[in-house]
Amino acid sequence: MTTLANYLLVSGLLFSIGMAGVLLRRSILIIFMGLELMLNAANLSLVAFSRFHPVNGLPNYNAQVLVFFIITVAAAEVAVGLAIIVALYRAKRTTHVEDLDTLKF
């Protein structure tokens, strides 16, 4: 019997894995992938809440609409982010995050 706690735990673990990726990897593309993982973890917890707190015998579809929006926005964000990475690569010839440090004092 799966409980809400299970789903939330899984979601949390996924989120942590994504955050670890953001904080610890050096390639900017991998960092971006970690970001996507975090977004997906949030989506999972939203859907879990939607299913476990139904309204009139049906899942709470407002949450699922939100998930829909999140997916859409995440897609747009990925597109723009990757375009930025491409432009950055053209300027700097590197994707190593430690070399991208000119915005400092």
Binding site: M19, V22, L23, I28, I31, V97, E98, L100, D101, T102, L103, K104, F105
Partner: protein, 602 residues
């Protein structure tokens, strides 16, 4: 025309003239002078008319500042015997001096400025005379100081004139500080500033004699400043930088006498504090003697007369301190105004004739070239030195008698001063008019025009006659003190002759420079140098110390410390902007997790 409205007209006509001259004077010279002379003449005629009327019963008074029972400052006129006499003196002399100025200032610069200043001065002086309360008098007191500043600095392009104006104003301010404190003391004790009400409150004041004495001495400080008594006399000789008619009107006859007039006005209050009267007498006596000493060694014709004025003012202040009624020093004020003004106008006549040369050792032999001036000067000199029969004899010797009776040391000091007065006065006449010409200016000297001579003659008459008992009784009610030493009646004329003789011996022959040289007197008892030292070292030193404090302590604390603190904070926080994305992400994550903990587990 009633006695209630006449004072208002007398007071405000000169102000109207001053305003009109200010706006329209530059258009035509005759306009400025005629407006000024007309206002003085109106005042003169009305003052004489007012003098002959009985005192008005009521008073026109409106309350200018009204703070309820705490303080009510009225603006009103006081018309009693004292102010009527003073009005006559001020307006008559003003009219004569204004007329004289027509001739004196004909070729001088700033013609309309001069007459506007004189009209303003007349307004202010009349305000002092007519004021019925301390605050109004103080306001006009300051206005008189302002007019004096404007007129002394008339030739403003000359540094010495500008500095003299500043010195006059500032030294007067020092005295006025004490004056204002005295007014506040009296107001605090009685709740009023009106003279008549203060007089009624004297029994109340007498209950705290120390307080009353201090208040009276503080009020007297105003006189020390305005009437050039001993510590604060330094401005009067320097005020001679102004045009000579100004010196004669302001710094001989009227403005400097305002101090004495004020003391006469509050004489009932002073009488209730005998210690204050002692202080006043001492300062007056010492001033009179010291100034006479200084006058014997001066070489500028106007400065001799200036020190003489200080000395005679000392007599008047001494008179306030020793006499039974205020009419005794006021009598001397009256005669002094006539003969000192006459002497100054004669000096002005000489100066104009000498093409504005003022050193007496460059003059000489003028008696043939300026006969009328010579004769008028003799009249004034005889009056000043107390020649029996002339006005000065009656008034000055009355004060000396009272002083000898009530304050013997000061009295005999005043007696000695009488001899010195005769000496330096005749020194002046002999060096200037007798002997031979000592320079080219002296050889080409000429008599002054009629417009300047007529006031001289007009003033010579009262200089001679004003002291005679029949005339004196019209204006003043004076009495001799009881038990005057008979010695005095012989000693005073003898000293007059001794002074005259001494001057004849030393100066009647042909001398090129002063045979007597006493550095102490010539350098004015080094008092000016003392003030200079004081300002330079004490005041400037204090200013330097304060400036140092401001720059290093205040500025350092208030400005530098925040500056350094801000810079330090900025310096530290800059290290967070390192450009490393993952570092930023780390801070972000750490902050979020921290917030989470804070929200969950608080």
């Amino acid at each position: 025309m009633s006695t209630l409205t006449a004072p208002w007209i007398i007071l405000f006509t000169p102000l109207a003239a001053a305003v009109l001259i200010l706006f329209f004077g530059r258009l035509s010279k005759p306009l400025s002078s005629s407006l000024a002379i007309a206002s003085a003449l109106v005042g003169c005629v009305l003052s004489w008319w007012l003098f002959l009327q009985p005192d008005p019963a009521g008073a026109i008074r409106f309350y200018w500042l009204d703070f309820g029972s705490m303080l009510r400052v009225p603006f009103g006129m006081t018309v009693d015997h004292l102010s009527k006499v003073m009005l006559v003196v001020v307006t008559t002399i003003a009219t004569l001096v204004f007329t004289y100025s027509l001739g004196y200032m004909k070729t001088e610069e700033g013609y309309w400025r001069y007459f506007a200043g004189l009209a303003l001065f007349l307004f202010s002086m009349l305000g002092i005379v007519l004021a019925d309360n301390f605050v109004m008098m103080f306001i006009f007191w300051e206005l008189v100081g302002l007019s004096s500043y404007i007129l002394i600095g008339h030739y403003y392009s000359k540094d010495s004139a500008a500095d003299a104006g500043k010195q006059a104003f500032i030294v007067n301010r020092v005295g006025d500080f004490g004056f204002l404190l005295g007014i506040l003391f009296l107001w605090a004790a009685t709740g009023t500033v009106v003279f008549t009400e203060l007089t009624k409150a004297i029994p109340l004041l007498k209950e705290t004699p120390v307080y009353l004495t201090i208040a009276c001495v503080l009020v007297f400080c105003g006189t020390i400043g305005k009437s050039a008594q001993l510590p604060l006399h330094v401005w009067l000789p320097n005020s001679m930088e102004g045009p000579t008619p100004v010196s004669s009107l302001l710094h001989a006859a009227t403005m400097v006498a305002a101090g004495v007039y004020m003391l006469a006005r509050i004489f009932p209050i002073l009488e209730a504090a005998p210690d204050a009267l002692t202080v006043i007498a001492w300062i007056g006596g010492l001033t009179c003697f010291a100034a006479a000493l200084m006058a014997t060694q001066q070489n500028d014709i106007k400065r001799i007369l200036a020190y003489s004025t200080i000395s005679q003012l000392g007599y008047m202040v001494l008179g306030i301190g020793v006499a039974k009624t205020a009419d005794v020093p006021m009598f001397h004020l009256f005669t002094h105004a006539c003969f000192k003004c006459l002497l100054f106008l004669c000096a002005g006549s000489v100066i104009v004739g000498m093409h504005h040369e003022q050193d007496i050792w460059k003059m000489g032999g003028l008696k043939n070239k300026m006969p009328i001036t010579f004769l008028a000067m003799w009249a004034g000199a005889l009056a000043l030195s107390g020649c029996p029969g002339f006005s000065g004899y009656f008034s000055k010797d009355l004060i000396i008698e009272w002083a000898v009776v009530n304050q013997p040391f000061l009295g005999w000091l005043a007696v000695a001063t009488a001899g010195l007065t005769a000496f330096y006065t005749f020194r002046l006449i002999f060096v200037v008019f007798l002997g031979g010409p000592r320079g080219s200016h002296a050889m080409q000297a000429h008599e002054s025009p009629l417009v300047m001579l007529i006031p001289l003659i007009c003033l010579a008459i009262p200089s001679i006659l004003a002291g005679w008992p029949p005339i004196q009784k019209i204006f003043f009610h004076v009495g001799e003190p009881p038990s005057v030493p008979h010695l005095l009646h012989i000693l005073l004329p003898a000293l007059f002759l001794a002074g005259l003789g001494g001057a004849v011996l030393l100066y009647c022959r042909k001398v090129e420079k002063d045979p007597v040289y006493i550095p102490l007197f010539a350098n004015r008892l080094y008092i000016d140098d003392a003030y200079g030292w004081l300002v330079k070292n004490v005041q400037d030193g204090g200013a330097l110390a304060l400036s140092w404090t401001d720059r290093w302590i205040v500025d350092g604390l208030v400005v530098q410390v925040p500056r350094i603190a801000t810079w330090a904070c900025g310096f530290v926080l800059r290290f967070l902007q390192i450009g490393n994305i993952q570092a930023y992400a780390f801070f972000f994550g750490a902050g979020a997790v921290g917030l989470l903990y804070f929200l969950l587990f608080r």
